[in-house]
């Protein structure tokens, strides 16, 4: 891998893993919790957000040299709202059932902090291509976060995955998981899991270090 490809990869992976918007930065919580009652909803929401993110970051980046700093927030918001409107109509054209399931949360993508945050922190300072790659990484990271919640909530709360029943008729769905409190609980549990992983990694490193010093 040549250095520039490595950079690009790094740029991309920042959002997917190291700075994952859902689990590390805790951004964009409203859609994360509201629409993840099923995997299909979570996936569509993630993809919609990603498309808006990529398109807005591209345009913001293209206009970065002619945007006076006093009006930049206004410019970003208008650009984001434009692409959200586009996605809104696209979803209506693709499937009304999906549109009804996601409800107002499609239009609420406008106020998703991830997008404005990316526009301000990254796209406004970088050329279009890296900005869009970074945005794509963030979008995928966000989609992964949504899916992590959607899978758990759909399996536990409805006993299905992608609408297909997983368990026999005897399964009593854990209804609370698809209700609002379930969203909070599942996300909390994921965060606990990740901080446990982090903790374990740290402990192992320390153990190794201690071992190395003892051997020496």
């Amino acid at each position: 891998m040549n250095p520039s490809a490595a950079d690009t990869w790094d740029e991309f992976m920042e959002g997917v893993w190291r700075q994952n918007p859902t689990f590390v930065m805790i951004l964009g919580m409203c859609p994360t919790l509201a629409v993840t009652v099923s995997v299909v909803n979570a996936l569509s929401m993630g993809i919609s957000t990603m498309l808006v993110l990529i398109a807005s970051c591209g345009l913001v980046s293209m206009m970065r040299n002619i945007t006076p700093k006093e009006v930049r927030i206004a410019v970003y918001i208008v650009i984001i709202a434009t692409f959200v409107t586009v996605v809104d109509y696209a979803i209506q054209a693709i499937s009304l059932a999906l549109y009804d399931a996601l409800g107002a949360f499609i239009q609420l993508i406008v106020v998703n902090c991830i997008i404005l945050g990316r526009a301000e922190a990254h796209a406004a300072k970088n050329p279009p291509l890296p900005a869009m790659i970074n945005a794509a990484g963030m979008g995928i990271g966000f989609t992964i976060g949504l899916l992590a919640l959607g899978v758990v909530r759909e399996i536990l709360g409805a006993g299905t995955l992608f609408g297909v029943a997983l368990f026999g008729a005897g399964f009593q769905p854990w209804v609370i998981m698809v209700l609002p409190p379930g969203g909070f609980f599942v996300l909390g549990a994921w965060l606990l899991f990740f901080s446990w992983l982090e903790r374990r990694k740290l402990r192992r490193q320390q153990a190794k270090l201690v071992e190395a010093t003892q051997n020496a």
């Binding site: 409203c30 509201a34 927030i73 709202a81 409107t85 406008v110 969203g183 609980f185 965060l191 901080s195």
Partner: protein, 192 residues
């Protein structure tokens, strides 16, 4: 079908609480709910912005409907909200500099609070009339404030107690929010 103003208010405040049942405005809910001193003014400021945004959105919607420009709805709502936040900022700065300083950074962030845009979008989708819209926005704002204050009080208490290291921070807040949300489910059917 006509919902009375009282029903709308009670529903927005408790049964369909903006934060705990509809997941609107979670960012400030998790971010500003650390201390009671900031939680309450934040809630009041947000409520005020919601009211202003709701009024503007109502007028704007009539205008857009008249000219058949519904596809510009989202973009004009967000611009209106951004401007009304700016307005609240200026008013506060002039008449209550102390509060203005206390709210500081969180004030401009109200623009990206989904609860504000949510009020505007929901009242349009439900075709509320003027009185209904106003009650809805005030009820929603009060519900937001209530959730914020409850959360802040619980979290202030928790700083004194012994919580497992692993659960510190956001994970703990989320679990708390889940329990609060669970108890708010008991209000369902209240505004029937």
């Amino acid at each position: 079908m006509h919902e009375s103003a009282f029903q709308i208010f009670v529903n927005a405040l408790l049964a369909n609480n903006f934060v705990l049942a509809m997941f609107l405005g979670l960012c400030p809910f998790l971010g500003v709910s650390g201390k009671l001193d900031t939680a309450f003014p934040m809630g009041v400021a947000t409520t005020f912005v919601m009211l202003v945004a709701s009024l503007c959105a109502y007028g704007l919607n009539l205008l857009l409907g008249y000219f058949h420009l519904e596809f510009l709805r989202l973009i004009s709502y967000i611009v209106i909200i951004a401007s009304s936040v700016q307005l609240v900022e200026m008013v506060l700065k002039k008449y209550s500099p102390t509060l203005f300083r206390a709210l500081g950074i969180y004030l401009p962030l109200i623009t990206t609070n989904c609860a504000v845009l949510g009020v505007a979008l929901f009242q349009t989708a439900r075709e509320y009339d003027f009185v209904q819209s106003v009650t809805f926005s005030v009820g929603g704002g009060a519900g937001f404030t209530l959730a914020l204050v409850l959360m802040a009080s619980v979290r202030e208490r928790l700083t004194l107690s012994n919580v497992p290291d692993l659960a510190q921070g956001t994970a703990l807040s989320l679990m708390l929010a889940g329990i609060l949300s669970l108890s708010f489910m008991g209000f369902a059917g209240l505004g029937g």
